[in-house]
């Protein structure tokens, strides 16, 4: 639910570039860390977990485009570095289906990647607090997913706030502001309405909409994550404990 489904061309170029640069830097360090580890062994695992995330996204739990991200599960089973790489691969592939803009893959990876990384550390913390591991693995993952999703959604709203984007016309707005300053005031009333005011997003309304739509998605994903981790813990506890301990 925290996916940034902002289409191409709505965010300012500097923010899009900043997203790509930050993602590239994180990917570089993640890959360096993995290379030190055993890259050969991990690569098929990254492929599998990325594929599971995509499969999860293809399954629409209820109509209105609600689907699970499984990013926290990726974080728990892969660890933060590998999970970030998996998230980038997933974002790149789903952008090819038009699921979120291709230019915002960098920002999208940061948001969903944050979800995976925060989820992993919160899971570790909750598991430490709750003493009975077998009983609490599901609960810990569920709680960590809920918090991670709320944080990543807030991050998404923050990005939109920073961009001061409003749709559509960031570039035109820049151009018109310059034109207004230097040339003339010949803009038509309708154009002004479309561009100059468009620079400001009604953040309150946007945050409210995201929260209202998000609450259901966050709850659903946290319940599913809890049940999935609970199941894996019963069947193959080594898959999770080896990462966490």
């Amino acid at each position: 639910m925290s996916h940034m489904h902002i289409p191409d061309g709505l965010l300012p170029l500097w923010l899009v570039l900043a997203g790509w640069i930050t993602t590239s830097v994180i990917l570089y360090f993640s890959m360096r860390k993995v290379k030190k580890d055993s890259l050969q062994h991990k690569l098929p695992l990254i492929g599998i977990v990325s594929a599971i995330m995509i499969v999860g996204m293809t399954l629409e739990i209820i109509p209105m485009a609600y689907h699970v991200n499984l990013s926290v599960i990726a974080g728990i089973v892969l660890g933060p570095s590998l999970a970030f790489i998996a998230v980038f691969i997933v974002d790149l592939i789903i952008a090819m289906f038009g699921h979120g803009g291709i230019t915002v893959v960098g920002l999208n990876s940061l948001i969903v990647g944050a979800e995976a990384v925060i989820g992993y550390y919160l899971f570790r913390a909750f598991l430490g607090v709750l003493s009975n591991r077998k009983l609490s693995a599901g609960l810990a993952s569920s709680l960590s997913t809920l918090f991670a999703l709320v944080i990543s959604s807030a991050f998404m709203v923050g990005i939109v706030y920073v961009s001061q984007t409003n749709p559509g016309i960031t570039l035109k707005s820049d151009k018109q502001t310059l034109a207004e300053k230097t040339l003339s005031q010949e803009l038509s009333t309708e154009n002004e309405r479309n561009s100059v005011q468009a620079q400001k997003v009604d953040m309150q309304r946007f945050a409210k909409t995201v929260s209202l739509l998000g609450i259901f998605g966050w709850t659903l994903e946290s319940v599913i994550t809890g049940l999935v981790i609970g199941y894996v813990f019963r069947v193959r506890p080594d898959l999770i404990l080896s990462k966490i301990t």
Binding site: V55, I85, D202, Y231
Partner: protein
């Protein structure tokens, strides 16, 4: 997202767009996305969308299906349009059509180009490890989709997914994903074993999938470049705005002509026989 269907369209089609080289198609996508990003004219955005629709028709792809696949981002574009509503329908239209046009551009690429070719085309711009990750994800995806499909069928047959038993359904569905995860792990171990037997030493030998016709590719690039030029002219040129209605009319004509041509091509001889 019906990934299996998208892959089927990409591998089975034989239109001019399917035959074009992936690198040319990537250039087409870059031109189109640049046009969509820089333009702020609703008429031009609708024209770009109609032009892409024309290409979908000419590529002999199922029109309604492709349009529905590419309409997914419209839901989220509407969310942004609502959040930033200032009384201007034009601006909301720009948001929605930017999303729809960009999505249709990407979908057109992916339904006419097999994934390995797309990955091969972008491989010079990505680290080797990510490219290998993309290939392995693609390889695993269809195995896992098949597993999930079988699992859902089994759950349905045994009453695990029944109407109006939502809590039960979610619990069973989650167990299904858990099982997929466990099987996925086993699969990754097997993958690694097989790769090792075949001489994997940390680097996969990549076959180049970049093949395709140059002639069709050049036409594709030319179309993309023309759209980009139009977009640039409308954006930076003075007085070009007044032509947007004409461009829209031409786009509508293109769509109608493509529909007529394809239906004539499909039904040729049928009326004579009857």
């Amino acid at each position: 997202m019906d990934i299996g269907l998208i892959d089927y369209f990409a591998n089975r089609g034989n239109s001019f767009f399917h035959r074009a080289s992936p690198i040319h198609k990537m250039a087409f996508v870059v031109f189109l996305l640049s046009s969509i990003v820089i333009t702020d004219d609703l008429m031009l955005l609708i024209s770009i969308y109609l032009m892409l629709s024309t290409l979908v028709i000419l590529a002999k792809l199922p029109f309604a299906k492709i349009i529905s696949i590419a309409s997914y981002p419209a839901v989220f574009a509407l969310l942004f349009a609502v959040a930033s509503w200032n009384g201007s329908w034009t601006r909301s239209g720009i948001i929605v059509f930017k999303a729809l046009s960009a999505a249709l551009t990407m979908v057109l690429l992916i339904v006419t180009t097999p994934y390995p070719s797309v990955f091969a085309a972008i491989s010079p711009f990505l680290p080797r490890m990510l490219v290998e990750g993309l290939f392995l994800t693609y390889r695993s995806l269809f195995i896992l989709l098949e597993l999930m499909r079988n699992l859902i069928s089994a759950l349905r047959l045994r009453g695990g997914l029944s109407p109006r038993r939502y809590i039960n359904n979610i619990a069973n569905f989650s167990s299904g994903i858990g099982l997929l995860l466990v099987r996925g792990f086993n699969l990754s171990e097997r993958f690694y074993g097989v790769m090792k037997i075949r001489g994997y030493d940390g680097k996969m030998k990549q076959e180049l999938y970049i093949k395709g016709s140059g002639r069709e590719g050049l036409i594709t690039v030319a179309v993309g470049f023309l759209i980009l030029l139009t977009s640039l002219a409308m954006r930076f040129g003075s007085g070009f705005d007044r032509y947007s209605v004409h461009i829209l009319s031409i786009s509508v004509l293109f769509v109608l002509a493509a529909f007529s041509f394809c239906s004539f091509y499909r039904n040729r001889g049928a009326s004579w026989k009857s």
